[in-house]
């Protein structure tokens, strides 16, 4: 009996990510969810700019490449033109939390019926490890060699907390993928985000705290530990908004 094999929705193309990069795990979780929900034939993915720019090669469903940061805007158009299709975006922090913040906030405020997978690794990976809006205070990067100085560069953007203040979004959750337990939890969250869209509930965003061993200057193992020690205290995991659950509570 096969206990584990590559999901059908994930293509055979070798991933270009660095050794130990957790992008691959999240790709696989999305593909597994697409398989389990049986929606591969009608799913349209929107690839971002950043490390995951070539995500269109890795999923077997239809994919579109968006301009930098504009994936939620493209997804809005695709979903409104094809309401029967399932539309998801896959974006990093340089895409979603930096150049594309406006698109993210407004698609959430409009409660567009799309699913957003947001990879937060606290650094710009593809361009070589510069400081991102999500870099932690004191974090050493190429452009903050003495550590991020909050007096000069300001404080990190907490997307889930920020969007949770809006009335629009249906579901916001922050997860991580640094252990088997957390990976299973992340899959549950991603599945819920897709299910919400199938049920027509609206905007779901799953923030995945990821590692970047290359640009953090660590081994893959140390990077996973660093997530536990440094990132999760600053970016606490959990559900930030779940309107269906809130409604149920109100009824009771």
């Amino acid at each position: 009996m096969v206990v584990f094999k590559k999901p059908h929705a994930l293509s055979d193309v070798p991933l270009h990510y660095c050794p130990g990069c957790t992008h691959g795990i999240v790709h696989r979780l999305v593909a597994e969810v697409i398989d389990e929900l049986g929606i591969e034939g009608k799913t349209i993915g929107i690839a971002p700019v950043g490390c995951s720019v070539m995500a269109y090669n890795y999923f077997e469903c239809d994919m579109i490449e968006a301009a930098h940061g504009r994936a939620p805007a493209v997804a809005t158009g695709v979903k409104r033109a094809n309401p029967d299709n399932i539309v998801f975006t896959y974006q990093g922090d340089g895409d979603l939390a930096s150049i594309g913040t406006a698109e993210t906030v407004h698609s959430a405020a409009r409660n567009e019926n799309i699913t957003v997978i947001f990879i937060n690794n606290a650094i710009y990976g593809m361009t070589g490890g510069q400081m991102a809006p999500t870099s932690l205070p004191g974090q050493v990067t190429q452009t903050s060699p003495y550590g991020r100085d909050v007096n000069l560069c300001g404080y990190p953007v907490k997307i889930c907390e920020m969007l949770a203040e809006l009335d629009g979004p249906e579901y916001l959750e922050r997860v991580t993928v640094n252990s088997v337990k957390q990976i299973r939890n992340a899959k549950r969250a991603i599945k819920k985000a897709f299910q919400n869209q199938i049920d027509g509930k609206g905007f779901s965003l799953i923030e995945v705290i990821s590692s970047c061993p290359t640009n953090w200057g660590m081994t893959p193992q140390a990077a996973l530990k660093w997530i536990d020690e440094k990132m999760i205290p600053y970016y606490p995991l959990g559900v930030y908004k779940d309107r269906s659950a809130e409604k149920k509570e109100d009824e009771q």
Binding site: M1, V3, F4, P19, G20, H23, H27, P220, Q221
Partner: protein, 70 residues
């Protein structure tokens, strides 16, 4: 017996599967270099495998297939 299959050419030798295995089944093959130029993972102790699929769950490159024997 439980069976592990690796797509060895896609392995990047990050070793995350090695660390997560509760039965110490896996190791990086220090004397082998794959097409990508990494030391790929290999099963050094395959009899001990309990088919928990922790390695495959952790693998970022989805190179491991796990089969549970009868």
């Amino acid at each position: 017996m439980n069976k592990l299959t690796f797509r060895t050419d896609n392995c990047k030798g990050c070793g995350l599967c090695v660390d997560v295995c509760p039965k110490k089944v896996l190791a990086l093959a220090e004397d082998v270099i794959n097409k990508k130029g990494h030391h790929p993972v290999t099963a050094v102790n395959p009899e001990a495998c309990i088919a928990c699929a922790f390695c495959a769950t952790m693998c970022p490159d989805c190179i491991i297939e796990v089969e549970k024997g009868e």
